[in-house]
Amino acid sequence: MLINVNMTINGKAVSGQVEARTLLVEFIRDHQRLTGTHVGCDTTQCGCCTVHVDGKAVKSCTMLAVQATGKSVITIEGLAQADGTLHPVQEAFREHHGLQCGFCTPGMVMMGVDICRRHPNADEHTVRQELEGNICRCTGYQGIVEAIMDASAKMAGGKA
């Protein structure tokens, strides 16, 4: 049996028919073909699939598409401004070498934005603790932690 789902993704109203078991990430990737959101594990550990649902970071592999009905979803594709201006967190990842292969990156950035919103001027300890649910194999987290700290300070300073 297929179920209707309606939500906004990156500000655009979208709808579709899904199986009850369809995960939000499958709806995003396979139905909407927004492939910036990645799947890196099958146990909700890696965080590659992190998106925002009604403004909060959520692992989209651990939420059903039907649960997102009526909600506002932002994916990595919807983070930069329409003119291409990067979000401060994206810009900070670039400045601090917060990515190498780029696979965990969309999830890291979406989580990073969430951390910055909740922790103005976040310190290193806070950022490392907050990244507990996001795994990166390339960077040793160094550039990621630096980028989130930097973006958090800039966002708190009203520069972004």
Partner: protein, 777 residues
């Protein structure tokens, strides 16, 4: 040099694409009408297959086909076999078992492929895979490395009669015993170098289609040429140019992604078999049981020293667990990969080395970041710490007395490698100063006041880099003066899009933003493309580009001479401009002219498009090296280790982009710390993989690591024109030794001198308890 030239910390070109969700990874690719593959994998570690009943699966909804190894064999598909051949001292060959793409009558590890189901949706394929009935007749299994080497162990390959593939030795042991007997002090260490699961963040996947007699397959690789050749020859029985492998963005490599895995063969073969595209999206659980694993050695080593603390002899016995089959490089890792650098940065004349690669009921092991060199360096550093204990010399002093000195370069090791350059004492001085080694006691006392045990450790390392000895790079300059690099190398996180553009700006004056990278497509990459692994790209790719650029200039000079009505000998080239007397033309003008035959000297082909096939002596490597120092705090009540401070001094030769090389150091260190601190691969006695997901396997997370201070002690390499040495694997070589040394330093009050990796809280706590009990008794 301008802001985008060699040596500048240029920000990466690839980042905006990857940060905005525009990266294209294999799973982002879909073909019209594709079917989905699901593999039936063995739940048993060791069993005979009595029968495979696919009838229920074939009848399931949406199923297009169910195939087994027998079907592939009937189509003439061949087998996989290791690249490696060794002989023992008596001249006997190493055993080399063959591997079917899908096993036919026997399973030898949990996760081995028994059948494949193709269906219209992934859910249908997975559901039908559950319906394939395999009748297994279980056999005793071998899950542990030590047991595999024991004469009491069940034998996995009866035709060989033993699990030991070869007993390889570099020389008769008695030759070194003579020297060992003269030692004043002898120390031994027994070390387990733990098995790790490499786990690039992108799970393995593939999508293939068969069209007009040609196969096209997308898959994450580290450069697809060898995979293309293997698939064409072994699987498809086609000329290589009828098989196209495309690796677009790849989510991490670490050595294990460059292989011809059975899944790739099956996905390729199946697309032709059913004449429909086939997609396989592996999940993380499949990664754990099918991607090659890394490390997994047991080492017993003995070091003999004279009265001055100088090493007089070294003996090493290594058992390496290669899993159920010898993978492409399996037994090569301890022997060629790491073993021949075992004396490390130390000047050791008398060295005996024995390796026994063993087969077991586990996932095969192959190259993982460092590929034998981290194991080798770790072993030497543990020996040096033990030697410091036994002689009463400080840990740095015993090392200072034994390292190869600057005046000894080029230094020929006992295993025949020629180390061109290095500054090993300088590395130590720089690292110890940056770490304030001299002020450590005060910090230890401060920690003690808080009930914490503080320790400091150091590790030296050197590692031969360069990988395979050939590479081809091509530069095509367009009539607009823009350049495209067609690379034989393959970037999957290393930032080649950026660094190759920096090189072209430096060599040819072509603006950084006007350089585009094309890689990872066997149809358009250079014919002799090798790929990226073994810390080779800066050398093989960088020098390859340098030589291609030289050819561009040579040809451009002739065209420029024509344009300026001069002679080629009178034309000079600098920063993108050809000059003769007072005349000048830009490279862009020359490029434009090169496509108009009237401008060309007689007999010259139009265009400005040159490639270079770089070939080096296969025995020639470069030798990145360094000293890493780490400070830790141990909570004795919890056994928990906190990393406080990390100084990495690396000699990567000439640094092309410090921003990117720092990233390589951080990532390598994190993988080394992961192995030392959190990553434990557990097989039980039945050969079941207990740590088969991120829930059970300790991937290092942000909270496990501290900031790393990466410094360079730049000693240009003498054997290549750019002066570069590798960088990708250095961190993984330096970190484990420094970490274990630091923790043992913290725990020295208990008399604890070694704990095997990973030093999990449980292990550390238990060791402390045991030491305390021993003292009480």
């Amino acid at each position: 040099m301008g802001q985008f030239g060699i040596g500048q910390p240029v920000r990466r070109k690839e980042d905006v694409r990857l940060l905005t969700g525009k990266g294209q990874y294999t799973d982002d690719v879909n073909f019209d009408g594709q079917t989905w593959a699901a593999f039936v994998r063995s739940p048993q570690a060791h069993a005979k297959i009595l029968s495979i009943d696919t009838s229920a699966a074939k009848a399931a909804p949406g199923v297009v086909g169910v195939f087994t190894g027998t079907d592939m064999k009937a189509d003439g598909v061949g087998t996989l076999i290791t690249d490696v051949e060794f002989k023992d001292l008596a001249g006997k060959d190493m055993f080399r078992p063959k591997r079917d793409f899908m096993t036919i009558d026997r399973v030898r590890f949990v996760g081995e492929i028994v059948a494949v189901v193709l269906a219209n949706t992934q859910a249908q394929a997975k559901a039908a895979a559950e319906l394939v009935m395999v009748d297994y007749d279980g056999l005793p299994a071998v899950g542990s490395t030590a047991f595999a080497a024991s004469p009491d162990s069940p034998v996995i390959w009866e035709e060989h009669g033993s699990n030991v593939g070869i007993h390889w030795e570099n020389r008769p042991e008695a030759e070194i015993d003579v020297h060992m007997a003269k030692a004043k002090t002898r120390v031994t260490v027994d070390i387990v170098n733990n098995r790790v699961v490499p786990n690039p963040m992108e799970p393995r996947c593939a999508v293939s289609k068969w069209e007009n007699g040609e196969l096209t397959m997308y898959a994450p690789t580290q450069g697809g040429r060898r995979i293309q050749q293997g698939i064409a020859k072994i699987v498809m029985n086609l000329p290589a140019d009828k098989v196209r492998i495309i690796s677009p963005d790849v989510g991490g490599g670490f050595g294990i992604r460059g292989k011809l895995y059975p899944e790739l063969g099956v996905v390729a073969w199946a697309a032709r078999k059913i004449d429909r595209p086939v997609k396989w999206r592996g999940d993380r659980s499949e990664t754990f049981v099918s991607d090659y694993h890394g490390r997994d050695q047991i080492n017993h080593a003995e070091l003999g020293l004279d009265a001055n603390g100088r090493v007089v002899a070294l003996k090493v016995r290594t058992i390496v667990n290669c899993g159920a089959y010898f993978a492409e490089n399996g037994p090569r890792l301890p022997i060629n990969g790491g073993g021949r650098i075992i004396p490390g940065v130390y000047d050791i004349e008398n060295f005996y080395f024995s390796v026994r690669p063993v087969l077991s009921n586990t996932v095969p092991t192959d190259t993982y970041r460092g590929a034998g060199r981290p194991e080798a360096n770790f072993l030497m550093e543990r020996l040096m710490d033990a030697a410091a204990d036994a002689t009463g010399l400080a840990r740095d002093e015993i090392r200072r007395r034994n390292v190869i000195k600057p005046e000894q370069f080029p230094y020929r090791t006992q295993m025949g490698m020629l180390i061109d350059s290095g500054d090993f004492i300088g590395n130590m001085d720089m690292a110890m100063k940056a770490a304030d080694w001299a002020g450590f006691d005060a910090r230890r006392a401060e920690s003690a006041k808080r009930g914490k045990l503080r320790g400091i450790g150091l590790s030296n390392f050197v590692e031969p880099s360069g990988g395979r000895p050939t590479e081809e790079m091509r530069i095509a300059v367009s009539p607009e003066g823009k350049a495209t690099v067609y690379a034989g190398t393959h970037s999957h996180g290393q930032g080649h899009e950026t660094v190759w553009a920096q090189l072209l700006e430096s060599f040819l004056g072509i603006p950084f933003e006007n350089v585009t990278l094309v890689q990872g497509d066997t149809k358009i990459m250079p014919k002799e493309a090798a790929g990226t692994f073994g810390s080779r790209s800066s050398w093989m790719g960088g020098v390859g580009l340098q030589r291609s650029a030289k050819r561009i200039v040579e040809k451009g000079t002739k065209i420029a001479a024509n344009l300026m009505q001069s002679e080629p000998e009178k034309v000079s080239f600098d920063a993108g401009v050809f000059r003769a007397g007072t005349s000048s033309v830009t490279l862009a003008e020359v490029a434009k002219a090169s496509y108009e035959p009237k401008n060309l000297p007689d007999g010259m082909e139009p265009g400005l498009d040159e490639s270079y096939f770089l070939k080096r002596d296969p025995e020639e490597f470069n030798y990145p090296n360094g000293t890493h120092v780490i400070e830790v705090e141990v909570d004795p009540d919890l056994g928990k280790i906190e990393m406080l401070n990390y100084i990495a001094v690396d000699d990567c030769g000439k640094v092309l982009n410090p921003f990117i090389v720092h990233g390589q150091v951080y990532g390598g260190v994190a993988q080394g710390i992961g192995q030392a601190m959190t990553e434990m691969t557990v097989y039980d006695d039945e050969g079941q993989l207990v740590t088969g997901s991120f829930m059970d396997y300790g991937m290092p997370r942000a909270e496990h690591l501290s900031m790393i201070d990466a410094l360079f002690n730049e000693v240009p390499c003498k054997t290549n024109d750019l002066g570069v040495k590798g960088a990708g694997e250095a961190g993984a070589c330096g970190a484990p030794g420094a970490f274990v040394s630091a923790v043992c330093d913290a725990l020295k009050g208990y008399g604890i001198r070694h704990i095997d990796m990973p030093m999990t809280p449980d292990r550390v706590w238990a060791t402390i308890q045991k030491a305390k009990a021993g003292k009480a008794a």
